[in-house]
């Protein structure tokens, strides 16, 4: 469930970002980088800071 919410948050953020600036919607690789950063990178950074 936590994972699904994280993906949903990533989806909403990416959609809003794409509406604001369409440059973020141009390539699959931008979407890939954003998703990996959001669902893997950010939790990793938070875990590191939490310790």
């Amino acid at each position: 469930m936590r994972s699904l919410l994280l993906y949903l948050a990533a989806g909403v953020s990416y959609t809003v970002l794409g509406i604001y600036n369409q440059n973020f919607l141009y390539s699959y690789f931008e979407g890939l980088a954003f998703l990996c950063g959001f669902v893997v990178g950010v939790p990793w950074v938070i875990r590191r800071l939490w310790r």
């Binding site: 994972s3 993906y7 989806g11 990416y14 794409g18 369409q22 979407g31």
Partner: protein, 291 residues
């Protein structure tokens, strides 16, 4: 052209073929025809310079141009090349299925694709939505998301979402890792959450893109300007629409429908030679294995 279908088709195919298919080559095949060409269609600018195809539509779909990337034979040649490099049939035919899905999907617009190149340069088109790639990315997006292209992509958004089980971690472990050599190999060094994100990224990108462009076109800007002319993004779901944009047709691209003498048949002959050589080597290898 399609804006989200190429991202989402692989998940529906994955659902039907399970571990018989390798997801990443399937996705690469689905992206392949546009991968190295699309930026040149819309143009790219830096330091005051802009590089763009003189005739974007012909470059993208026609001949002379790179329209051959949307043909069935191109998929076969690429699949043979991939087989030659990795020696794994599943990678080769997964790529082929993805590339064929792309070429067939793009027949939906008014320009269509040279599906039977190099036998003919005729552009096969269903003509359901307007091709407006020559008007720049923003007007093209506005036109696409105002016509039946928007509905077509919507079908894939719904279909892929109904196939949601392929996106679960359990399905990924059971079918995708088993079927795709990349995920099996990468799983030895990379974490599962990262590989899951890579596997789900095309679905994520396709759905977000479809929603974002639709909202942008109809609720945020409502229109865009290209070379001094304003285009209002009015929804027009009639066949071949939207009709507020000048849609290109096959006759605007390729003058001849059948290949004449000269370059193209020579390219075709090279292709035939490559296929024959590969087939001969494959037969030799199989007979050696039997011995």
């Amino acid at each position: 052209m399609s804006w989200a279908a190429h991202d989402l088709e692989p998940y529906v195919i994955q659902k039907h073929l399970g571990r018989k298919i390798a997801f990443l080559p399937l996705l690469a095949g689905s992206y392949a025809p546009d991968m190295l060409t699309k930026w040149f269609v819309y143009g790219i600018g830096a330091f005051g310079f802009e590089i763009k195809a003189e005739n974007p539509a012909r470059f993208h779909r026609g001949w002379p141009g790179v329209g051959f990337t949307h043909s069935l034979v191109f998929g076969v040649l690429m699949a043979l090349l991939i087989y030659g490099i990795w020696r794994k049939p599943v990678i080769a035919y997964s790529f082929l299925i993805g590339q064929w899905a792309h070429a067939l999907t793009d027949m939906g617009d008014t320009v269509g694709t040279m599906i039977f190149f190099p036998f003919t340069t005729h552009l096969y088109s269903i003509g359901a939505w307007a091709y407006a790639g020559e008007l720049g990315r923003q007007v093209d997006a506005g036109a696409y998301f105002s016509g039946l292209g928007f509905v077509w992509d919507g079908v894939w958004v719904v279909w892929a979402t109904l196939s949601w089980r392929v996106l679960t971690a359990e399905y990924y472990r059971r079918e995708v890792v088993t079927g795709d050599p990349f995920f099996g190999w990468a799983g030895k060094t990379l974490s599962e959450p990262l590989l899951l994100a890579i596997y789900r990224a095309a679905y994520f990108y396709g759905v977000c893109r479809w929603i974002a462009w639709t909202i942008w076109a109809h609720f945020v800007v409502g229109g865009a300007t290209f070379k001094g002319r304003r285009y209002d993004f009015k929804l027009d779901l009639s066949w071949g629409g939207p009709h507020w944009v000048h849609a290109l047709h096959p006759s605007d691209l390729n003058n001849s429908s059948l290949l004449g003498a000269g370059g193209p048949p020579r390219v075709f002959m090279y292709g035939v030679v490559v296929v024959l050589v590969r087939a001969k080597k494959l037969r030799q290898r199989l007979s050696r294995r039997r011995e």
